[in-house]
């Protein structure tokens, strides 16, 4: 099924070069299109029970008691509570503040928090039994908004409800700089929670073996996150828990940290039941209880000189962390590090706070804080260009960071800066703007408008994060002469299995079908760090590349010593494998570890230096049509140019960009999580909608390649950047069409109606 279009010459070259840069068929493609791929809910073990979770109904209060309905038949049902936890009742992450189950006498912090677990012979019984568990509580006053949290009237955390705060400073006094500007544009921007809405709901299957070891398999991004959390919760050593990923039906960050919670529950109830338990969330439960994108309020001031150059940028970011710390400090860090945008400015101040409320915790979602701040700064830039009567792309070009420029944290960009290329790429295809835009348009006609945005995204962990992680990966020559890549980077749809096969085969100089990827089990693969932060290809892919090169060199040495130097590597490998067959391990394995690029330094105390080893760059153009009667917004055109360094697999890259683009368009126009008293009021796919085929325009994707010298073949991250920018382009296009600004997402028809016609709306 290899692409036939390039003819024989290319296919011979591909065999030798391992196909980097070509869109080979995904290695997991056939299993997925035939329905053979095994997701967690497809797995069964003998004697398996089905689990269900009993949840709190109040946002905050003391858990007084858990009792069983005496009239219900409990004979084949198992119940577990916090009292059944062997180790420390926490989900270990950054702060150990979140319990796996609220204990009796403990404080409930949000609606739908887990208080008990059940297991039953079938799913229907398990869910039915949940209705017969009686939970009594004494409610306490709760906090439902960031404003209430900051007022400090009810304290949930410390003495100010602030989980974490940060400050970035560049240049001199910010007020003096603003005072010296010719024009200051100020705005307040609000973005809502967003549901990841992976189509496979979360789930885990746990069982304990006769040696007291706990095995958990499920839908997850980061096997070693779950491993770390389970060791603490279950009081086990490294070998006492084995975490394995099943084929995972999407994650987008939603399966970064939350799976530890479900793994904990499956493990606890399986232990109590003494048999395997599968715990799969209902869609409604998944929407109601699991993490979402952090809501944010961002105040942005932009000082400009009359010639259109930026004088100063001042940003204040507040994000709603929800009831527990989870990943909020890291999300906030990324939010503020991206808050001043890919622009040159002499004076910058960025402040950020993550606050505690009594909503279910917000967590990782593609972009990780950057989409929120990008929305704010790109709306500001749109307003600036408008105020200065400059072409919006021209305004960006004038102020964009270029090679050799210095970022807000003082990082000098010395390679892989694709800023001009992405702007040029969009400008080239933009064409004439559609007619009828602006305030003066015929009120009965469809209003059309255009918006653009320009942004960047740091790939990999922040600062020295990658050094601390020290991700490892291995490539082994197996006794049968085949190769195996071992890493804990999971494939959640983004194509890890395929691109790692390509990278390894290329480095080894062997055909692709000689390489396979080891199952993502903590028993078989080293810790490569989590599958997050657009780091899989760029960071771990590079480690795989190095490990494979080391192995190839070792094979070459062996061949040299055995007079086989003139044979192709695959042949040498087969003979070496035969030779090794008698040895203890029977295989030859090379491991490599992350190496930080030289000259990339970061200071956590002053929050300055190189925030990320490298950035991806992107520009987006959106044309909209607004219906004059229903105020529905149709995206008629969406052009997205993204600099990915090097596309190891162009179709997979395109798929990443387009998937992220649509999530951003959805966030801009129709996705909305509605809370009522800390409870998700629209916890179903019927009400919590995401874009369909019919809502989606033809997406125009342009891949730009500005290679990163320390990525595999020049590749850098692509997973998150497409989520960052399109929302601002949409809002600016609507402003262009209607002549009034839209600074809050989503821009629903009723929001437009309220703006245009406050009277009829009320």
């Amino acid at each position: 099924m290899l692409s036939t279009t390039d003819g024989q010459q290319n296919s011979r070259r591909a065999r030798n070069e391992g196909s980097v840069g070509r869109s080979i068929p995904r290695v997991d493609g056939v299993a997925k299109v035939t329905g053979r791929a095994q997701y967690v809910d497809d797995l069964e073990l003998p004697g398996m029970l089905y689990g269900a979770t009993v949840r709190s109904q109040i946002a905050r209060g003391v858990l007084e008691s858990i009792t069983l309905d005496p009239d219900y038949d409990w004979t084949d049902i198992v119940l577990a509570t916090a009292a059944d936890i062997a180790g420390n009742n926490v989900i270990a992450l950054i702060e150990n503040d979140q319990p796996a189950l609220v204990p009796i006498g403990g404080e409930i912090q949000h609606v739908d928090e887990a208080v008990a677990l059940l297991a039953a012979p079938d799913r229907r019984r398990a869910r039915e039994a949940v209705q017969h568990v009686r939970v009594t509580t004494t409610p306490l006053p709760a906090v439902f908004s960031m404003e209430e949290a900051l007022s400090g009237q009810i304290l949930l955390h410390g003495d100010d409800n602030v989980f974490k705060s940060f400050l970035i400073r560049k240049g001199g006094d910010i007020e003096a700089a603003m005072a010296g500007a010719d024009l200051v544009i100020a705005g307040t921007y609000r973005t809502p929670a967003q549901e990841q809405m992976y189509i496979e709901p979360q789930g885990m299957l746990a069982h304990w073996d006769e040696r007291g070891r706990c095995h958990i398999i499920g839908s997850l991004q980061c096997p070693y996150y779950v491993h770390k959390a389970m060791k603490v919760l279950l009081d086990r050593d490294d070998d006492g828990v084995v975490i394995e990923q099943s084929v995972t039906g999407g994650g987008f960050g939603g399966k970064e940290e939350y799976p530890s919670m479900i793994a904990a529950h499956a493990a606890i109830i399986a232990r109590k039941a003494g048999c395997p338990v599968k715990l799969i969330y209902d869609r409604d439960e998944d929407i109601a209880a699991t993490t979402k994108r952090h809501p944010a309020v961002i105040e942005h001031r932009l000082g400009l000189y009359s010639d259109g150059t930026i004088a100063a940028i001042d940003v204040d970011v507040v994000i709603d962390g929800g009831a527990y710390v989870t990943l909020s400090p890291v999300v906030l860090s990324r939010a503020i590090l991206h808050a001043s945008g890919p622009y040159r400015a002499g004076h910058v101040r960025v402040r950020g706070r993550a606050v505690a409320t009594n909503t279910p915790p917000h967590g990782a979602f593609r972009g990780f804080g950057a989409p929120q701040t990008t929305f704010a700064y790109e709306r500001q830039m749109a307003k600036a260009a408008r105020a200065l009567a400059m072409d919006p792309l021209e305004f960006r070009r004038k102020n964009m960071l270029r090679l050799g420029d210095t970022t807000a944290t003082g990082q000098t960009l010395s390679y892989s800066v694709g800023s001009a290329k992405v702007l040029d790429a969009v400008a080239r295809v933009a064409g004439e703007q559609t007619v009828g835009s602006g305030v003066d348009a015929d009120p009965a006609a469809v209003h059309r408008g255009r918006g653009v945005s320009f942004y960047y995204h740091g790939a990999g962990f922040t600062g020295r994060g990658e050094v601390h992680l020290s991700g490892r990966a291995a490539v082994a020559l197996l006794p049968d002469g085949r190769f195996e890549v071992r890493s804990s980077s999971t494939d959640i749809g983004q194509g890890t299995l395929t691109i790692f096969s390509q990278i390894a085969a290329t480095a080894l100089g062997v055909p692709l079908d000689r390489v396979s990827i080891a199952d993502q089990s903590t028993r078989h693969v080293p810790d490569s760090g989590p599958t997050v932060a657009s780091r899989t290809c760029m960071v771990v892919g590079r480690v795989v590349d190095v490990a494979a090169q080391k192995l190839r060199a070792r094979i070459a040495d062996w061949a040299e010593g055995n007079d086989l130097a003139d044979k192709p590597t695959a042949t040498q490998a087969a003979m070496m494998a035969c030779d090794m067959a008698g040895t203890a391990s029977g295989e030859v394995c090379e491991t490599a570890q992350y190496e930080h690029p030289p000259g990339i330094e970061w200071d956590d105390d002053t929050y300055s230096g190189a925030a990320y080893p490298v950035y991806g760059w992107a520009a987006c153009l959106v044309d909209v049509a607004v219906d004059p009667h229903t105020y529905e917004v149709a995206v008629e055109r969406c052009v997205h140019a993204v600099d990915v360094g090097k596309a190891i697999h162009p179709i997979i890259v395109k798929g990443q960009i387009e998937g992220g683009t649509l999530q951003a368009l959805g966030w801009a126009l129709l996705e909305n999580v509605v809370y009522d008293g800390g409870r998700v009021a629209n916890a179903s796919m019927t009400n919590c909608i995401v874009p369909t085929f019919a809502d989606t325009p033809e997406l125009e994707t342009i891949i730009v390649e500005e290679p990163y010298p320390f990525g595999p073949h020049g590749a850098k991250g692509v997973g998150e950047i497409p989520m960052d920018g399109p929302a601002a382009a949409v809002a600016s296009a609507i402003e262009d069409a209607l002549g009034v600004p839209f600074d809050e997402l989503p821009v629903l028809p009723e929001v437009i109606e309220r703006k245009l016609d406050p009277e009829s709306a009320s």
């Binding site: 869609r283 995401v690 019919a694 033809e698």
Partner: protein, 158 residues
């Protein structure tokens, strides 16, 4: 109740309460786990199967309703190891990422191109709009289905 139905071309007879969801019977009793559950409320289309020539959400169908009818699931698309045009195109064009929506989309798209091989891209979007994909942004799926339709049309022209 005893239910008789043709499943992927094979007559099957089994015992079930008529009220159970077709989705559960397929996945649990018949071990046809290719059909997926994404929402259980008729919104996502991951559970799409063809009943008597019509695509339906199997999470909304009571199994009693299929008595005496024929059901086609994703397992019934390929001819042995030879993929259906739609499956082959989804692999080649990158129309599957995480893959959880793919069985439903493949089933629906196979039905669509068998009925309407000349459908435009816009029409394809309309016909497939009961199936949600959160990964792809749909573009590569439309590319794949359009290609499969074109190949089918070309074959019927010969």
């Amino acid at each position: 109740m005893k239910i008789q139905a043709e499943i992927n071309g094979e007559m099957r007879e089994f015992e079930s309460s008529p009220w159970r969801r077709l989705l559960d019977v397929l996945r649990t009793d018949l071990r046809l786990t290719g059909t997926k559950e994404g929402c259980g409320e008729g919104e996502c289309g991951a559970c799409t199967v063809i009943v008597d020539g019509r695509p339906v959400d199997s999470c909304l169908v009571a199994v009693g309703q299929i008595d005496g009818r024929s059901v086609r699931t994703v397992e019934g698309l390929a001819d042995g190891e030879i993929l259906h045009d739609v499956q082959d195109a989804l692999v080649r064009f990158g129309g599957t990422q995480c893959g959880i929506c793919t069985p439903g989309i493949a089933v629906c798209a196979a039905h669509v191109i068998e009925r309407e091989p000349g459908a435009s891209r816009e029409r394809l979007r309309e016909l497939l709009s009961g199936n949600i994909c959160r990964c792809t942004g749909y573009q590569l799926i439309v590319d794949a289905v359009a290609d499969a339709a074109a190949r089918r049309l070309a074959r019927s022209d010969d």
